[in-house]
Amino acid sequence: MAEENKQEQGQEIKSGNQGKQFEIAILPLQNTTLFPETVVPLAVGRSRSVKAVEAALATEEKLIACVTVKTPEIQGSDAKPIDLYEVGTLVNVKRMMRNDDVMQLIVQGVDRVKILYWSQEEPFLKAKVEVLPELEVVDHEEVEALKRNVQGMIQEALAMLPQVPPEVRMSVMSQNNPVQLSYFLASVLDLGVETEQKMLEANTTDDLLSLTHGALAKELEIMQIRSKIATEAQGEMDKAQRDYILRQQMKAIQKELGEGDEGGEKAEAAQLRERLETADLPDEIRKEAERELKRMEQLPQAAPDYHVIRTYLEYVLELPWKKSSEEKLDLNEAQKILDEDHYGLEDIKKRILESLAVVKLRPDSKSPIILFVGPPGVGKTSLGRSIARALGREFDRISLGGVRDEAELRGHRRTYVGAMPGRIIQTFRRVGVNNPVLMLDEIDKMGNDYRGDPAAALLEILDPAQNNTFRDHYLDLPFDLSKTFFIATANQLGPIPIPLRDRMEIIQLAGYSDQEKLNIAKQYLIPRQIKENGLQNDQIEITDDAVNLLTARYTREAGVRQLERTVGNLARKVALRVAQGNTEKVTITANEVKGFLGSPRFYPEEARAELPAGVATGMAWTEMGGEVLFIEATMLPGGGGLTLTGQLGEVMKESAQAARSYLWSHATEFGINPEMIKQNGIHVHVPAGAIPKDGPSAGVTMASAMASLYTGRKVRSDTAMTGEITLSGLVFPVGGIKEKVLSAHRAGIRRIILPERNESDIEEIPDDVRAELEIIPAKYISDVLSAALETEVSGPKGENYVIPETKHSDGTNEPLIAREK
């Protein structure tokens, strides 16, 4: 009966009609969804399922409905109706093979069915189902677009699957029915039960295609990522392999060339490690270096950082962290060395020896920092060298002239390309010990700009309290500078910042006197030049007066550099004669100098035999030493005020005004008619007009020149003077006394008027010069004037100028002040 029923229903199904309802065995499926048109193999082992299949095979058309279990955890054969979806697939069992208790099936989907109600649960599931309508393929534009998209994606997917045979590709690509294509893809792709079920339940072609499209897109993306990962892995391997081969080849080439330091980077790192282990480093430095080395070992040789670290480590290893040169300080020996190398400079040598004595008594004390200030060529640098020799230490010098970047001293941080340590650390690597004598030359010539101020960096370097942990930007490790003997040199104190000046012991080197220059020439310069020019001592002789002529007329300097060059010039001329075969001894006297060197180059200001009223001799300090200058004052009859010329600075102008005001207010004391000052202008000129001058030290000279003009008493021509004046008539001390006096002496001056409080400086003046001078200390301007002015009125007295009639109320013609007196 049931069989007949089936038969009937079978007939109806065959006719393709949907909506038919019939009762059928249900096969629950796990993790799989079957679709119409698709052929799928199934294995059925559980007894309940086997019974369901057997029931299906008993029918004429071998039909069964496959329904998927909602939750994968539930075994298909144990599934209860509630665990199953409501839409499944009607399938035809095409083949069956029993293998022990397992049935191997090949089934093909026929139609979609919807479960109406469950009619049986045991011994197998059975339900009344209704055949769902077949999806119609309408030539809707959207469907077409989706279909083409899907086909495009399939093509892409197939491109990534080279193992799919071509006939399969063909058949997939030629599948034009979107519904069948979708069902096919759904059964082929592993989309997950939920998606597959949704696709099965889709009731329009549109919905189905959208779902297919989405699923395929996702699948395609996964495939792309997977293939990308695979390609990248492949690429990486290829590159590594290529590098390896190239490196092997390079090694072979190096070996052939004899450069083959076995095994490139490994060996390099190992070498560094060996050096690091044997190096004598402070613990902190070792720790840091080891950390860097570890980093380097992990890097490939081609990495840019590898070389940066290697250079850095080499630097660290080469620095003298603990290495010092042994000190062999013998003060007597030191004295001998200083005397050998330098003539005179007794005071300076004494101070140097004092400093050295402290170093000897307290080796752990902070080394002193000495600053030599003086004009060029006086031997600052060579003094530093002598100190190093006396101490038995290494010597090196850093020229700071023109340095204007802080990084020059302190280095650049390692992050910068081509970064290097600063000059300080570089010097330490060069000398190889941590207690050298380090000369900082031209410390007054450092510049500064927006990049930083090197003087500020020097503050740290030269501070004994903090320079034991000096950190270079490049090294970034504390280096101990405190054992270093720093010597700085400068031509002028002015440009050195006060905090920096404060850290150093300042030793002033004045210029040399003519006598000293003569001695230096005889003892050092002439023998040295004879040797340098390949002459013998018996081939040339330069007499003392020739040397004096050279210092006075062929050179103008505080030091002896130009003198040495001039001597060298003479020596070369003699060398030419000798080389030409004239081996006779050449004696150069003052008369012959002109023949060798041509006319004298300098005509120094010499004391003038007679000065007219209104002219006074002053002394000026220059970087080259000292000079005499003449201050001229002249009356401007009927004019007014004070005219100042000669490139005078503000301070100098003011001291001229002070001089005039003082004389005006004390006119009667000096026998000057104040009316004359009031009625006539005065012009003060300081030659040479092109050279800028400044400073207060010409105050007394101006006062003398004006007083001479007003009184008609000439200033003594053998007298030169210096000193600052105040309105109350005091004379203040000034600097550069030694140079000034020496230059005045050179110019033939024999009387010098100095501020009383400068008396201590007189001791600096060499004895031979002092013996020839009369030095007059002055406390007040009146002292200066009485010493400078001649007593008798010899010039055109100021009174001679036209003085307009001034009638006083009482009818007398006498000066007001005098009258009040």
Binding site: E61, V93, M97, Q163
Partner: protein
């Protein structure tokens, strides 16, 4: 995925020609041209004549039907099944229109023989 595609195609045979669901089996057929018409031989063993439908339209001959298993009686149990029992459809096209031809058919050793006699006045 490639594997499953291959597996799929082992069974799918020529399903790409399928037009709609419900027709899953495609019996093999030979077509002879005879002096007086055509002889069509179709492998349809086990199909009873009443289950076959023939239809002629223009130059197309459509065979459709269903092979049903009538041997499986109550109490039987399958051990192996390799014969396909299901709907089938076979569409044969001829070079000329066969409409109006007279048809004869009979089963011979499991093969369905269909003879088409051209109409005298074609």
């Amino acid at each position: 995925m490639a594997k499953s595609i291959n597996r799929y195609f082992q069974f799918i045979a020529s399903s790409k020609n399928a037009k709609s669901s419900g027709r899953l089996w495609y019996p093999a057929a030979d077509v002879y041209e005879t002096p007086d018409g055509w002889l069509v031989k179709v492998e349809l063993a086990g199909v009873s004549a009443e289950d076959i439908e023939l239809e002629i339209q223009g130059n197309i001959l459509t065979l459709a039907g269903c092979r049903k298993d009538r041997s499986c009686a109550v109490g039987f149990s399958y051990r192996q099944m390799e014969i396909t029992y299901s709907h089938f459809e076979k569409i044969l096209s001829f070079p000329a229109s066969i409409e109006g031809a007279s048809i004869e058919h009979n089963f011979e050793n499991g093969l369905l023989l269909i003879r088409l006699y051209k109409r005298e006045t074609a």
